[in-house]
């Protein structure tokens, strides 16, 4: 079984998105990036992000990630905050440390694109 199947596929994404979104909205380091008027649209973006880092089918490309984040002037602090919130979300859902490591690695693999390095 691949990672996406092991952690429970699309239902796992559904379970994670509210918890994750609540965490980032409450995190003063990064809440300003997520505090948009249209919460549904923001939640949809986060679903797409979680689907990607859970190893699910997605159409994110490095170019998309660069384009989407380049106006935000993001730094390592912001990126690390997202990873922390992601890991905390997964622990809350009872995901094993092995899987959390794999997910963090996928998220880490897009770091340069997100930070526009």
């Amino acid at each position: 079984m691949n990672l996406f199947e092991r952690i429970g596929g699309a239902p796992a994404v559904d379970a994670a998105v509210d918890i994750f979104y609540r965490k980032v909205l409450s995190d003063e380091r990064i809440s300003q990036f997520f505090d948009t008027v249209d919460m549904e649209a923001q939640a949809a973006k986060q679903k797409a992000f979680l689907t990607m880092v859970f190893g699910g089918p997605n159409q994110y490309s490095g170019k998309d990630l660069r384009e989407g984040h380049k106006h935000m002037a993001l730094t390592e602090v912001h990126f690390d905050a997202v990873i922390e919130n992601l890991a905390a979300t997964l622990r809350e859902l009872g995901v094993g440390e092995t899987e959390i490591g794999e997910i963090a690695a996928i998220a880490g693999s897009v770091k340069d694109d997100v930070l526009n390095c």
């Binding site: 699309a10 994404v13 559904d14 998105v17 509210d18 979104y21 609540r22 909205l25 409450s26 505090d35 008027v37 919460m39 549904e40 939640a43 949809a44 973006k45 679903k47 797409a48 979680l50 689907t51 699910g56 089918p57 997605n58 159409q59």
Partner: protein, 342 residues
């Protein structure tokens, strides 16, 4: 009718030894390949459908079904109300029988409604009752068209009545210098005709867990959809607690006080609170506080609750965030945000 047409095509195909599923999209028909999704089939045939993740996550490719069944998988993650309206994710939909689909929210019904009653029920609220010329869920909204020599004025109003009441009730806030509401208050009379279009929106009650606590919060004429939603919930046998919190700047902003008192008296599960900011003289049952603080203090956790938030858009967005952060699931938060008009 259309499905028969589609089935006929399927039979023809079967006779040819093919087993294809057909989809009808407006006036065109396309055969799907084995296990092909509606999204892929339409894209392959040159139809431009917006799409994103193709994983059932981003919901960019949502379409609406006119006739036929979509697999449950294609509605995974959609709000119950959207499911009931036939929304589905085209990237997750590989139908096994013919279906007819369209872009979401297209094909709005238009109709001419007769005004059954026009009455000012408070200094600032005009209540219109229209003949029931279209089907709706209480809490949805419709557009009213007012055609003038210079331009058309189109305004959206939420529906406070229930379908079986056989009329459409709207609460129109009479705004100083409001082009539409001033015209409506001065000119609309019983027996007049109005062009209406709709219904729209997914802020309505749908049965699910009848014991789930409902948290209904509104300001101003946000009461209109909430009055519809709450009575619809009761009509459908909702047993869980139904909290209604209404906010206004001044105590004169509240209306339907008697009707709400009756509702609370008749149904023990209904609990109503009035919250107003100003210190004007007002009856003793109106609390004097900020509505956000009031909700925060009364509902420190909204986990497991279903929320309906109606009123000015700034209020709705702020309250939505508050309700979400205090624990409610995003899918359980329904909102009807009123947008300002020029």
């Amino acid at each position: 009718m259309l499905i028969n047409e589609l089935l006929l095509h399927k039979d023809v195909n079967k006779n040819r030894g093919l087993n294809m599923t057909l989809i009808k999209f407006y006036d065109q028909m396309f055969p799907l390949q084995d296990n092909e999704t509606v999204l892929d089939g339409l894209l392959r045939n040159g139809v431009d459908i917006p799409h994103g993740c193709r994983a059932g996550a981003c919901q960019a490719c949502v379409l609406q079904v006119n006739e036929g069944e979509v697999p449950a998988k294609a509605q995974t993650g959609l709000k119950t109300t959207r499911k009931e309206l036939g929304y589905f994710l085209s990237c997750q939909c590989a139908p096994t029988a013919p279906i007819e689909v369209r872009f979401a929210e297209q094909g709005l019904a238009r109709a001419t409604a007769e005004i059954i009653a026009a009455e000012k029920i408070s200094p600032h609220i005009l209540r219109l009752r229209l003949s029931k010329v279209l089907d709706f869920h209480a809490g949805q909204y419709l557009n009213i068209w007012h055609e003038t020599a210079e331009k058309n004025l189109i305004r959206s109003y939420s529906i406070a009545s229930l379908p079986h009441e056989n009329f459409i009730e709207l609460h129109i806030k009479i705004i100083a210098n409001g082009k539409f509401s001033q015209w409506a208050a001065e000119h609309l009379r019983e027996g007049d005709n109005l062009a209406v279009q709709g219904p729209l929106g997914d802020c309505f009650y749908s049965a699910g867990d009848i014991h789930q606590p409902l948290l209904c919060i509104g300001i101003g004429t946000g009461l209109a959809p909430l009055y519809g939603v709450i009575r619809d919930a009761l009509h459908q046998g909702h047993l869980g607690k139904i909290h209604l919190i209404l906010g206004a700047r001044e105590s004169t902003g509240f209306y339907l006080r008697n009707e709400l008192a009756d509702l609370q008296h008749t149904y023990p599960q209904v609990d109503i609170h009035f919250v107003c900011q100003s210190q004007d003289a007002h009856p003793g049952d109106i609390g004097e506080t900020d509505i956000y603080q009031f909700v925060k203090a009364k509902f420190s956790s909204t986990k497991g609750m279903r929320a309906y938030l109606c009123g000015a858009d700034t209020f709705v967005h702020k309250m939505k965030k508050q309700i979400f952060l205090s624990g409610a699931n995003m899918a359980d938060i329904h909102a009807d945000a009123f947008l300002p008009c020029s």
